[in-house]
Symmetry: none
Subunit: 209 residues, 4 copies
Amino acid sequence: MVSRTGPKRSESIRRAVLDAADDLLVERGFSGVTMEGIAVRAGVAKQTIYRWWKSKVDILLDTLVDDAEQPLAWRPGSSPAAPEEELTDQLGRVAAFLQEPAGQVLLSLIGHAQLDPETAAKLRDGFLREQRERDLAGLGALLARHTGRPVDERLTGRLLDAALGPIFHQALVLGRPADPATLATTARLVLDAAGREPVPGAGRSSDAE
Amino acid sequence: MVSRTGPKRSESIRRAVLDAADDLLVERGFSGVTMEGIAVRAGVAKQTIYRWWKSKVDILLDTLVDDAEQPLAWRPGSSPAAPEEELTDQLGRVAAFLQEPAGQVLLSLIGHAQLDPETAAKLRDGFLREQRERDLAGLGALLARHTGRPVDERLTGRLLDAALGPIFHQALVLGRPADPATLATTARLVLDAAGREPVPGAGRSSDAE
Amino acid sequence: MVSRTGPKRSESIRRAVLDAADDLLVERGFSGVTMEGIAVRAGVAKQTIYRWWKSKVDILLDTLVDDAEQPLAWRPGSSPAAPEEELTDQLGRVAAFLQEPAGQVLLSLIGHAQLDPETAAKLRDGFLREQRERDLAGLGALLARHTGRPVDERLTGRLLDAALGPIFHQALVLGRPADPATLATTARLVLDAAGREPVPGAGRSSDAE
Amino acid sequence: MVSRTGPKRSESIRRAVLDAADDLLVERGFSGVTMEGIAVRAGVAKQTIYRWWKSKVDILLDTLVDDAEQPLAWRPGSSPAAPEEELTDQLGRVAAFLQEPAGQVLLSLIGHAQLDPETAAKLRDGFLREQRERDLAGLGALLARHTGRPVDERLTGRLLDAALGPIFHQALVLGRPADPATLATTARLVLDAAGREPVPGAGRSSDAE
DNA sequence: CGCTAATCGAGACGGTACGTCTAGTCTTGGC
DNA sequence: GCCAAGACTAGACGTACCGTCTCGATTAGCG
């Protein structure tokens, strides 16, 4: 196939579509985001959108990649001696992120993933998998500094669930931001559990999977 | 105005509608549940459904009340001496419940609540609030038996989040059932934290065990 | 309304239903007449209406019998010497009748008869057939007085069509009352034709059916 | 803004819809014509119909324009010397037309016009007005040939009512086709009346409006 | 510089479900 | 047993988006 080129994909259209979707989500909620509405708002023909995205979910996933990675990054601790404060801060950033527009996109997509397996697959194989890897690395390093020894990855995974679980539980199930007291309690719980855990290879039966 | 009576609401129709909605959710997913589809499946006229329910969300909320309360109930411990096992069992029942049809209804409604504020309000003011009260009572009693003294209700609330958070996090965010190891780790974490907490008004807890 | 007469049909309900139907037709037009609306307006249950009438058409047919016969009656001529004026007057009464509520009922029913064969059958076998008999008798007597000899009934029928046709044509097709000039022209036409017609039994071929 | 064009309205769909409506009217009567039924029968989406027509009445009106004009046209007389035969033929064509599918459409619409003022307005301002103009021109020319002088237009109008009235009266009120004898009688009546009328300007008072 | 392939706006089209409406039947209980 | 109240089945209504498609108008680079 000889690539006789024509005009190239318009970057301004891509941005206009992503922005329109984002705006509509904030203004009218997830069901207020429609392909037709995005097209009108972005000043673009429907077919132009369908040429580049399969669905509104794909559009929102694109906005997520642009907007969510940085706010959820693990910051290197300013004071290496205070892992509990560092963990509490990180959990606070996660909780705060969920209140912002980009966080609303994430919550909406997680919500929609409960209703549509295809969304679930795309979300989990894409953004969520990568974010979990970053979280595992960040928490693993923090725990290692805290305990003075490397931490088993499966244990890190369970502690990550213990750390993030309450935040997402409150956001998704109770529909409210996690309060600071919960974050502090959670951080201490996780660090205590990590300190009490045996050295890898000498695990107690209850840790076995 | 004298209340001249007419025919009464048909209970068999009510059940047929709830069952049809439940079946459709399991077979075709949330978007496969439509008012029209429910009407056909239940062998009932659409108008009859609209007479009693405003939307498919309202129908699913009704199925929850019918079908979710019992499986999520806290069972009185057969052996008062083993609260850890009792808590693990309870968490196991919650995790198992989420795999069943009624649990899928709950997950779908929580998902839809992220997309629609009205659904969120109904779900949280209805089933979720009552279920949380039952959970607080159940966990509170268990912790009291475990620690030998009454437990502060706000603390119970945070520990309930710590207990349920990982389960819902895995179900909603990771899209998989919570594994037994996570449940056991979680149960121990919660009980340890409760044991370490100070008696109300009796000084701060130390880091040491 | 204390109609404690037991299993007898309530005459007051019959009147209330007919009046309600009539009023609704005038106020909201034919499509504004619904069984439900009649029931509400008459302060009567739907089933009570269905017990006695099959449809709103049957109700309107009942009102027609009550209200249309008298205004369409042929009046004995005050002055026997002026059949043209007498005929013009009669046609004027018909035209005027069609402007009144009862006339609107008739026009509506004729209209509906074009759309529904059952209505057509009931209307033509009932009111219209009887009215045509009265018209044939009235016009026949008038023509006999005018020509001085009995007039063939088939010819009377054709002349009746010639007399009424323009009135109904203007009402039904043009949607306006027949103007006096048309009525006068029509009356003269009919009388001239009757005068020119041969004695029964010596008819020209064009009169044969 | 340059006017970018899109696809044009499909003529084949337009015909399919008109045909479907026509067929349904003949097969199932006016109430058997539904937007939904037309859509199914024409193999077309409902929304496509609503894009171009407001109601089934509008569709039927369109079929009239397509199908009724030609059969109701006044044919130039082959033999200028026989206006009576020519008029009888024309009236015969009208009567025959009312028996055909397109004529049933017209009768149905006239019927519905009695029940719905909007239908009445559309029908009279559209097809009926234009048809009346054609009829006035046709009858006017015929009468001029018959009498040897131009005929007053208002008189032509009244004679047109006298000619068409009986036909529509029999069709709409009596529900049967006009018989040949009636047509012949009517034609002769009309021509006689035209011949007897005075020259314009010397009219009798009864012709004045 | 013109050919050609792509992008793009506009919008017609077949679908599916929506939530509403009225008709006509059936059920219950008061009188 | 008559009646009011109203639940119920049935099915058309007109609307909203969906995702696909066709139609020209408009760009770019390749030759």
